[in-house]
Every structure is written in structure tokens, then in C-alpha cells.
């Protein structure tokens, strides 16, 4: 870049060759990176496959091939969609409640008294392991449907309220003041300034929250549920069927990652498409 600017415009041919060389080097870099990445996959999957049966007993550490085969069997047995659906509805309902509660607390925390009131609640919500909520709700509610939902709400609401509170705190005051002094109405002001400003904070809260929510859901299902991924995992581990156990958790893990990284990110990019135009 710097050389291209420094060189006079008359010397066109050497510059193009230089650009080409840079481009070629960059292409080589990219190919290199892809190759090393593939090497990484090969290495770790190979290590896993090698370790099962050689370094550790095959029943204790089933290899990736085993896991794939087991997934095929489970899929054929027809248990997979039902378990996924159960867990997903639980996540959906629990997370929706957590979002509403968390956002409400985030808004209420702008008041100084309520800020003091909720601060410790948020700290406790963020620092307490999900396991503790899972056990407490399990012992209180047994396997009624409320237990897992309350556990999800208690573990995720704090992240959302923290993000909402931060977003409100960083509201562009000067813009709002200007809008006010130019007589922009309340509805339009909120629609055009406040909500676009808060949206990224809320999205972050949702993404963080979701990544925790699905883990907690599976954890609570292990203790207090008779359906869903966690229940299947518990059954498999009690029967000492490690291939089945690994298959359940890995299948749901891949699925949740897909939701988290692909679906949420695509929605977010859609939502903030207007931002790129500003940036460039």
C-alpha cells in the first residue's frame, strides 16, 4: 500500500507486478492457513481415533467413527427429534422469560435505589454455578416442568440485565437532547435513537445468554427431567453406554453452536446492515 502511493504514477508496469506479487503472497498465505487448519482437524480427529482402543479402553473412549455410527442408529430409532424438541422448547420458554425479566431489571437499575437493590442479585446471578440452581430447583420442584425453567431464568437473567443497563447508561444524551430541542416526538425519538442504540447491547446479551441457557438446560435435565437431551445423557451414562452418551451431547452441541454462531449471527448482521454503510 505504502509503496503504491510512494511510486510515481508513470511507473505503471512495476507497480502492477508488485501488486500481483502481493496478491500471490496473500493467496499463498490463505492456502497455507487452510492447509494448516485441515492438518489440525486431521491431527485431533486422528488422535481421538487413535486414543480410543489403544491409549484407553474402547468402551471408555469411543472414537469419532463410533460416534457417527451411533448417531445413525439413534436417528434410525427415532428418538432424536423428540428429545431435541423437548429441550428446545424448554430453552425457548425459559430464555424468553429470562429475557423479559433481565431487560426489566436492567431498565429498573437506572434508578439509584433499585440499582443498589438489584446489584447483588445480578452479581449472584452471574457468579453462581448453574449446577447449584439445577440442584435447588430439582429438590424443590422435583420433575415438574417449572424446575428447569426457573433454573434457566436464574442463570441467564443477569447477563441480559447487565447488558441492558450498560446500554442505557451509554445512551447518546446529546442526540436525545438535540432531538428534544428540535421538537421530535417521544415515539419517534425512541424509535430512531434509543432503540437503535440499545439493539447491539441487547443482541450481545441474547448471544451470551443463549450460550449459557442451553448448557444449563441440559444440566437441569440431567437431574430433574424425564425427557430431553439431558435425560438421555443421564440414561446413557447410568447404563455405561459411552458411545450413546457422547453422541447425544455432541449432536446437541453441534446443533446449539449452529444456532448460536450461524443463525443468531445472520440475524444480527441483517439487523445491523445499516451500520456497515456508516462505517465505510
Amino acid at each position: 500500500m505504502a509503496t503504491a502511493v510512494a511510486s510515481p504514477p508513470t511507473s505503471a508496469p512495476p507497480r502492477t507486478s508488485e501488486e500481483e506479487r502481493v496478491r500471490a503472497a496473500r493467496r499463498r498465505d490463505r492456502i497455507n492457513a487452510v492447509a494448516w487448519r485441515l492438518a489440525g482437524y486431521a491431527f485431533f480427529l486422528g488422535l481421538w481415533e487413535f486414543a480410543s482402543g489403544r491409549l484407553m479402553d474402547e468402551r471408555l473412549l469411543p472414537g469419532p467413527v463410533d460416534v457417527l455410527r451411533t448417531f445413525g442408529e439413534l436417528w434410525a430409532s427415532g428418538k432424536v427429534p423428540g428429545a431435541f424438541a423437548d429441550t428446545l422448547t424448554r430453552i425457548g420458554i425459559g430464555f424468553a422469560i429470562a429475557f423479559v425479566v433481565g431487560a426489566a431489571i436492567g431498565i429498573l437499575m437506572q434508578n439509584r435505589l433499585l440499582n443498589g437493590f438489584f446489584r447483588d442479585a445480578v452479581t449472584i446471578g452471574v457468579t453462581t454455578p448453574g449446577l447449584i440452581w439445577a440442584l435447588i430447583t430439582a429438590i424443590i420442584f422435583g420433575n415438574r416442568p417449572w424446575g428447569p425453567l426457573i433454573a434457566i431464568v436464574l442463570t441467564t437473567f443477569a447477563l441480559i440485565s447487565v447488558n441492558v443497563a450498560e446500554g442505557i447508561k451509554a445512551l447518546p444524551k446529546d442526540l436525545i437532547d438535540m432531538a428534544k430541542s428540535f421538537g421530535v416526538g417521544v415515539v419517534r425519538r425512541n424509535r430512531q435513537i434509543v432503540i437503535p442504540h440499545l439493539a447491539p447491547y441487547i443482541f450481545t446479551g441474547v448471544r451470551f445468554g443463549f450460550s449459557i441457557a442451553w448448557k444449563v438446560t441440559v444440566l437441569t435435565e440431567v437431574f430433574s427431567s424425564s425427557s430431553g437431551i439431558g435425560f438421555e445423557m443421564r440414561t446413557a451414562s447410568q447404563l455405561f453406554r459411552l458411545p450413546e452418551f457422547l453422541t447425544w451431547i455432541l449432536a446437541f452441541y453441534v446443533f446449539a453452536l449452529l444456532l448460536e454462531k450461524v443463525v443468531l449471527e445472520v440475524i444480527e448482521r441483517r439487523f445491523f446492515a445499516w451500520r456497515d454503510t456508516i462505517k465505510s
Binding site: 489440525g40 452479581t123 449446577l131 435447588i136 447477563l159 442505557i168 447491539p200 451431547i249 452441541y253 453452536l257
Partner: protein, 348 residues
């Protein structure tokens, strides 16, 4: 978290209150008593009281509907007398609370030491070489996103009861944070200082001692902090499934005995334990490590960079300049877009 929290506490908390949206120009100066009642301290004190009241009320209501719920809904007095018994060393569990937490801490310490050692090596490699980075990157992310329940259950099945399963769980939950932090540390190393050191003929050992290590220090510290917080959560889950003693095993002991007051009391002990560690140990240590750096609280700076809420918001929060939310969003900093941002700025 404590330092920033209290600092922010003294500042005017309602500067950006939504009042500004609902045109309310300035609150009139009120009576001092009213002001005290409105202060955040009053709210802080009110919180546990309200919790207790809600708790008592819930018991009253629930037991009037289902009389048998007394079993699973312990009263606050039951829970606190249980906690007092535990703290004075009188317990029905096989070990008292100090031994229990000691065992867990030992496992956590061993696991964290292993994670720091391996993670530093891999992180250094990933920061220094693009190829090594490409080799490991996806797997680090994959391990990071794995729920600790999976590690815990798997390790308990694969390694049986004892120390190995929990320790391996701690290593696996903690290591991605160490790797990512060290990598960022290497990438953010001050190249101009290296150039200067070379120009002035500073020896290699001195460069490492006085330039590389101090520049990595805040990152290592943040790594240790996260590895501790998440390793602890992982360890507890692992001990529930595959321990014969330790904190997780003991809470499961009370759960299996169907003593709800035991479970809740132990959960409160967990909270106290985690807060003590965060507030006293890590704040002290960070004060000690960064005493050469008087003006910034380095841990806050670093943590903010790692788990700032998003690309768009990272810049916004940089202005407001408090690391509070960064530390509170702590548990899941992996895809903190702040990290993405630094990565992009490095590549670009």
C-alpha cells in the same frame, strides 16, 4: 468487580437515567432523610431483607396449599443454623466444610497449574505463528464452547471416581481461556519497545524479563481469573458425578439425603467462597502485580478488551470507561467481539 463497583457507586448513578427520556429536567433537592432512603446503599440493604420476606411468605403460602411441602422448603432459620454448624465444624457429612473446600481447592490448583502451563505454550505458539494459529484455532473454540457438564460426565465415566476426573475437567474447562489470553497478549506486545531494546543492545534475557513478561502479565492475569472462575464451576460439576469427596460431592450428598436446607446452605457457602476469592485474592494479587503501573487498573483494561459486549458497543463503552460490565459478563468471554476486533485490527 468490587473496586469498579464501589467506584461507580460514588459517581452520580442517575446521570443517564431514563428520566432524561421522559423529560424531567432536574430533581428538586429533597429532604436528607428522603435522600438516604433513595440512595443505593438503602437498596443494597433492602435486598436481603426483601429476599427473606419473600422466602418466608412463599413458605407460608405454599405450606397452606400443600402441607407436605415443608420437607422441600426449608425455613431461613434451618438454613442458617445449618450453615453455622458447618462453619463451626459440626456436620453430618463425612468431612467438615474446611477439609471439603481444601480438597476442592487442591484439585482446582493442580488443574489450573496444568492448564496454565500447556495453555501458555500453545498460546505463545498461536500468537507467534499464523500456521500454528490455524492449526489450533477451531479446536480451541470448540473446547471453549463445550458445556462443562459434558467434560464432567465424560471424565467421571472414563477415569472413574477419584482425583483424575475432576482435575482433567478443570484443565479442559480452563485451558481455552489461557490460550486465547496469551495469544492476544503476544499479539498486543509492544513492538516499538522491542525495536528500542534491540537498538540499545539490551540482552535477550533482559528483553524477555523487562519487556515480554510485563506486557504478557495482564493477559496472564485475566486468563488465571477466568480459568479460576470457570474451572471452579467445572470442578463442582465433575465432583458431583465423579468425586468421592470435595465441595461438589458434598452438595450432592445433601441432595441425595433429600435435605433441602443442606443443599441451599451449601449453595450459599459456594457463593460466599467464590465472592471471597474474587474480591480478596484476585483484587489483592492484581494490586500486587500491577503496582508498577500506577494509573490504570490493568486487569480491568484487559478484561474489557476481551469481553466487551460487541463490536458496535465496544467503542461506545470505551468512552464511558468503566470495566464493570466487562467483569460481570465474565463467564462467557470467548466470542466477546472485542477479541474479534483486536484480531481484525491485528490482521488488517
Amino acid at each position: 468487580m468490587s473496586a469498579t463497583d464501589t467506584r461507580r457507586d460514588t459517581g452520580p448513578a442517575d446521570t443517564a437515567a431514563p428520566d432524561t427520556v421522559d423529560e424531567l429536567p432536574r430533581r428538586r433537592r429533597s429532604h436528607p432523610v428522603v435522600r438516604v432512603l433513595r440512595s443505593s446503599l438503602a437498596g443494597r440493604i433492602a435486598f436481603p431483607i426483601v429476599c427473606l420476606l419473600v422466602w418466608l411468605l412463599a413458605i407460608r403460602i405454599v405450606t397452606s396449599i400443600w402441607p407436605f411441602a415443608v420437607d422441600v422448603l426449608p425455613t431461613p432459620t434451618q438454613v442458617f443454623s445449618f450453615m453455622w454448624d458447618e462453619l463451626t465444624g459440626e456436620t453430618l457429612a463425612p468431612r467438615n466444610v474446611y477439609e471439603t473446600f481444601g480438597i476442592s481447592l487442591r484439585r482446582l490448583g493442580i488443574g489450573m497449574a496444568i492448564a496454565m502451563a500447556i495453555g501458555t505454550v500453545i498460546g505463545l505458539g498461536m500468537g507467534l505463528s499464523k500456521r500454528v494459529n490455524a492449526f489450533f484455532n477451531d479446536w480451541v473454540v470448540a473446547i471453549l464452547a463445550m458445556p462443562n457438564l459434558a467434560w464432567a460426565l465424560f471424565c467421571s465415566l472414563a477415569f472413574g471416581f477419584g482425583d483424575v476426573g475432576p482435575i482433567v475437567t478443570v484443565v479442559l474447562t480452563g485451558i481455552p481461556f489461557v490460550i486465547i489470553n496469551v495469544r492476544e497478549g503476544v499479539r498486543n506486545a509492544p513492538t516499538d519497545l522491542y525495536d528500542m531494546a534491540r537498538a540499545f543492545g539490551v540482552s535477550r534475557a533482559d528483553t524477555i524479563r523487562h519487556v515480554l513478561l510485563p506486557s504478557l502479565m495482564p493477559f496472564m492475569f485475566a486468563a488465571a481469573r477466568y480459568a479460576f472462575a470457570l474451572g471452579w464451576k467445572g470442578l463442582v460439576v465433575a465432583e458431583v458425578f465423579g468425586g468421592e469427596d470435595g465441595a461438589g460431592w458434598t452438595i450432592k450428598f445433601w441432595y441425595d439425603a433429600h435435605r433441602a436446607y443442606g443443599v441451599i446452605g451449601y449453595a450459599l457457602l459456594f457463593v460466599v467462597f467464590a465472592l471471597l476469592f474474587e474480591k480478596f485474592l484476585f483484587d489483592r494479587l492484581s494490586g500486587y502485580f500491577f503496582r508498577w503501573r500506577p494509573e490504570v487498573n490493568a486487569a480491568d483494561v484487559v478484561e474489557q478488551r476481551f469481553d466487551a459486549p460487541g463490536v458496535a458497543t465496544a467503542t461506545a463503552t470505551a468512552d464511558s470507561g468503566n470495566g464493570t460490565h466487562a467483569t460481570t459478563t465474565g463467564p462467557k468471554p470467548e466470542r466477546g467481539a472485542g477479541g474479534d476486533e483486536t484480531r481484525r485490527s491485528h490482521d488488517g
